[in-house]
Point group: C2
Chain length 598, copies 2
């Protein structure tokens, strides 16, 4: 099926919007009138630009407040429409969107609406234009898709059909099954948008909070299936009004948009990208640093041993249990100093995982390897993190560790067994994109988004995991685009004995994040502990949480560059990440001078 | 009356919050539990810090999910409460807030709730603590203030009273007159917050969108009057959860908060600051620039003449009709280049205006003047703009122009009659504060806030005016804290003939902002014009709008530094500012290379 996007969904000038849509692989666009009005390009130039970019103009929109009005008003509306039809001829657009009226002068008279729409369609036909009539969810008298269709049917004009918009239909709670009662050839256009399920005024909801399919709470795919059963063969077109997208760069938003449509097409059986290959564990976390010393000291204090070195690159492998951390001093130094740059995901089919990622528009990374290196498939996540699909010690798959040569080392500690989770900070404008990427490209499940109160603004966090929890990634985002108070990323290490692990860390010269005494007074009020237990936590800076399944104990190291480590002990099937304790942790990180430095 | 603020209303560490509250002049604080837990200060240290700052701790909050639960759960709750009462003794806080339960285990049984609250109050009394029970708007079984009061009354314990919260009461649409049925001595605490009138989930509304009284849509003053009639003599205390305040610097937020309480006290007759002195016109706009040449050329092209120069400072007075612009090359050069730094407001009582501003916490500016200068009263607005209260050619008041000496000049043009309005860009975090400041300090009226679609994000604008429209200030704010795409400020000049004024500007070498042809094609579709009229607008880049009252025609100059000018012609009582045309203007400003440079 053809894919299209409304220019209002992207930021920038009309030229920037068209370029971004074309580069992301859309077949066509809806031209939003205000974008044309504000453009210095003439309609003919816009037409030529679209042709050069390989884009069709699938819709011109919107025409408002046309129908069910007194005769003199309608005469003015027809005059206005004639101007617009002339414009559409210059533009090479053959379908116009007419929204149900919100004009206070409009009357509740379906027969009048049908008659006037029939006359409008007659005029449109003279210009070779088709009119697609759509029910706005907040239309004055027409606010549901079936009502709009009844009026279109009553008007009975070949140049008049209906436009369906998933937001307007699903935000009203209308049953989309009725769509199948509309003949496919009378559905002139299909606009798609999702939205988070918010209890709020529908106009404000629509204008500020729409998002791409798969990023909100509506079952857009089910609606599309009903539409396809009618025989509709027009484009799937995205029309998203969103305050965040308005200020985000157009190019990544367009890619995000196109990916969401590919997934929608997959969901309705209209496309078959390679199937997801769900990762089965974390092979490694890779830190890039201009100076290996501070992070090596930190890893050593945590009980890691430097067990191997890459044969051709300045990369050390540090290991403890199944937890592996690469320390790479190779790439150009960034201003952030040490950062978490890459994640190795254990994959049962690395090549297949990369094929799906590529089909879903993830940038495939060049294999930066020497002639002897094991081939490694890698793509970039929306936040720039490199994701490697790899295998560790599995038959019939090359082992990424073959690129490393063992070095003499003392045995590592035994406190840490594996990487429990990774926390990655997302660009503010692409939080929803990040969750959809990890769900769709990697086949992970997304958990609910939670708010975390940082002393200098509210942060949000959303975890994505595989079924058995052996891959957990917490996607975080700051309070606002400008938020640079905390860009810390972190690696959480699983232990069966957080007390022993914390003691070892401290004894080895590690600097644990100090936790205020007031926090422990509150724990004492909240829970009952065994004798001395709470005092141990207080001494070691261990935080404590419970959920319906079990208990979570965790503590934090100091920060090197942008990275810190967490030691976590999950007991009894605890599922969360200690979100309750995040405000205390965040305040402590702000409070300790130098904690976010290095 | 005493004033207080909850620490959750301000950003930063507990220490930063307390300092900001004290510096803004609050008498006390509510300690929000999470702020204490995250603080490295012990309760005793917090107590000492508050005492040093002259702050009392008026409330410790919140204690949640206490009442109407099974006996074993209540036993645990009492245990928790005992810990908290001990803590409050260390802190020196004698009142605790207990919110109505949201616990799924809570039962709908007022008698049980009363009995358990009675027992809680008994325990509290042992510690010298009072319990203030409050109905959360989303409480499981108790969600209205009168219901909470009935339970308190039934419990009948001297250490148990109720806490009233304006948000919880007004968001539910409860009638606040019933408050007068509660004995004043049983109202243990009064929390105040306003909120914009949003149709949304009340919990989300409360947690993210509360604002200070006078900044939202509730009649908080009416509620306070009812409370005061009961004999309540506790503090007026602000408790505001707001995503913007969370990331704004604490100090200006605290001042904003305190000002809102002062105005509330004035509204209920509990304080009598000097009365507002409404400005009667704009005496001048002052531009500060490192280089007078570009802005002088721009003023000359607009028809202004340099008529006078300050006797002691490098300041030129440019004049045309009653429009006056000062060009000041004195102050240190800022990185913004030319900016709109000050506004002279025509005041019938400059000293009185300054007294009110000072009483409402506006920073009074030092009189930067020589020994011979006319005394000028000035304060800083929240955005840093200097507001001068002054008089131009009026009996019994010193004329600010006396500081200027005439210089030889050609006569100015006649197209511009006066300054129509000024547009000032506000810091993102203080948009609501700016509107309240201009309303309360200057006695202006605030109009509705409107969204303006910039190609790179949504902007907001809100105008404040005096009754006859001779003072109009449009307060604008960008899409996000980081928004630096447009920080332009502007001076709009009134003309009776925008066509003549625009022609003159162009003939004199001015560079008008070019408006796309598509805009005029749309005007042709929308309105009927006299022969040639539209072609004239198209030629000169004049924009056009109508409202129910009249017609608005306007055009823009190029930008110098951060400043540009607009020529506006209002006919027939048009009231707006051409907001409909703002997207086209903003896109044109982005499109013209160099337009925002200089």
């Amino acid at each position: 099926m053809r894919t299209s996007i409304a220019t209002v969904s992207l930021s920038g000038s009309l030229t920037e919007k068209l370029t971004a849509a074309a580069r992301a692989g859309f077949d066509g666009v809806e031209i939003f009138e205000d974008d044309l009005l504000a453009s210095p390009l003439t309609p003919e130039e816009v037409r030529a630009r679209c042709a050069d970019l390989g884009l069709t103009i699938d819709l011109y929109q919107p025409m408002r407040d046309v129908e069910a009005v007194p005769a003199d008003v309608f005469a003015r509306n027809l005059r206005r429409a004639r101007h617009k039809f002339e414009l559409m001829n210059r533009l090479g657009a053959d379908t116009v969107l007419v929204c149900s009226s919100v004009d206070p002068l409009a009357v509740d008279d379906d027969a009048l609406a049908a008659e006037q729409l029939n006359r409008l369609a007659g005029l449109a036909q003279d210009f070779g234009v088709r009119v697609a009539y759509e029910a706005l969810a907040w239309g004055r008298h027409v606010s549901t898709y079936d009502h709009a269709w009844r009026i279109v049917a009553a008007a009975g004009h070949p140049a008049l059909g209906t436009c369906l918009d998933s937001f307007h239909i699903l935000s009203r709670g209308s049953d989309p099954r009725g769509i199948e009662d509309i003949p496919g050839e009378k559905i002139f256009f299909l606009q798609l948008a999702d939205a988070p399920l918010l209890a709020m005024d529908v106009l404000q909801w629509s204008r500020h909070y729409r998002c791409f399919p798969g990023q909100g709470g509506f079952d857009v795919a089910a609606l599309v299936r009903h539409v396809l059963r009618t025989g509709y063969d027009g484009p799937l077109s995205l029309e998203v009004f969103n305050d965040v997208f308005r200020q985000a760069p157009a190019a990544p938003t367009a890619v995000d948009a196109r990916r969401s449509l590919l997934l929608l097409q997959e969901a309705v059986g209209a496309a078959t990208p390679p199937a997801p290959v769900v990762p089965t564990g974390v092979a490694f976390a890779e830190l890039v640093t201009p100076d290996a010393a501070p992070v090596s000291a930190l890893l050593a204090a945590l009980g890691f041993a430097r067990t191997a070195r890459h044969r051709g690159k300045p990369v050390d492998l540090w290991q403890q249990g199944e937890a592996r951390v690469l320390v790479n001093t190779g790439p150009a130094v960034s201003r952030d100093g040490t950062r978490l740059a890459a994640v190795g995901l254990e994959s049962p089919d690395p090549a297949g995982a990369a094929r799906r990622a590529e089909a879903l528009l993830a940038p495939v990374l060049p294999r930066r390897r020497g002639p002897e290196d094991v081939p490694l498939d890698a793509v970039a996540a929306p936040d720039g993190t490199e994701l490697f699909f790899c295998a560790t010690g599995r038959p019939r798959l090359p082992d990424w560790r073959a690129d490393f040569a063992d070095v003499p080392h003392d045995p590592p500690g035994a406190a840490v067994s594996r990487i429990d989770h990774l926390a990655l900070t997302q660009p503010w404008h692409h939080f929803d994109e990040a969750a959809l990427f990890h769900r769709s490209v990697l086949g992970l499940r997304a958990q609910e988004s939670v708010d975390l109160a940082d002393p200098y603004g509210l942060q949000r966090s959303r975890a994505v995991t595989n079924a058995d929890g052996s891959v957990r990634i917490a996607l975080g985002v700051g309070a606002a685009p400008a938020d640079d108070t905390v860009h810390a990323q972190h690696v959480a290490l699983a232990t069966d004995d957080v007390v022993a692990a914390a003691r070892r860390f401290r004894a080895a010269g590690g600097r644990p994040l100090p936790i205020p005494g007031n926090y422990y007074d509150d724990l004492a009020a909240r829970y009952e502990f065994a004798d001395g237990e709470l005092e141990t936590y207080r001494e070691l800076g261990i935080l404590y949480d419970r959920d319906a399944h079990g208990v979570f104990r965790h503590c934090y190291t100091h920060t090197v560059g942008r990275v810190f480590f967490e030691l976590v002990q999950r007991d009894g099937g605890y599922r969360g990440y200690g979100a309750r304790n995040a405000p205390v942790r965040l305040a402590a990180q702000h409070a300790v001078k130098g904690f976010t430095g290095g």
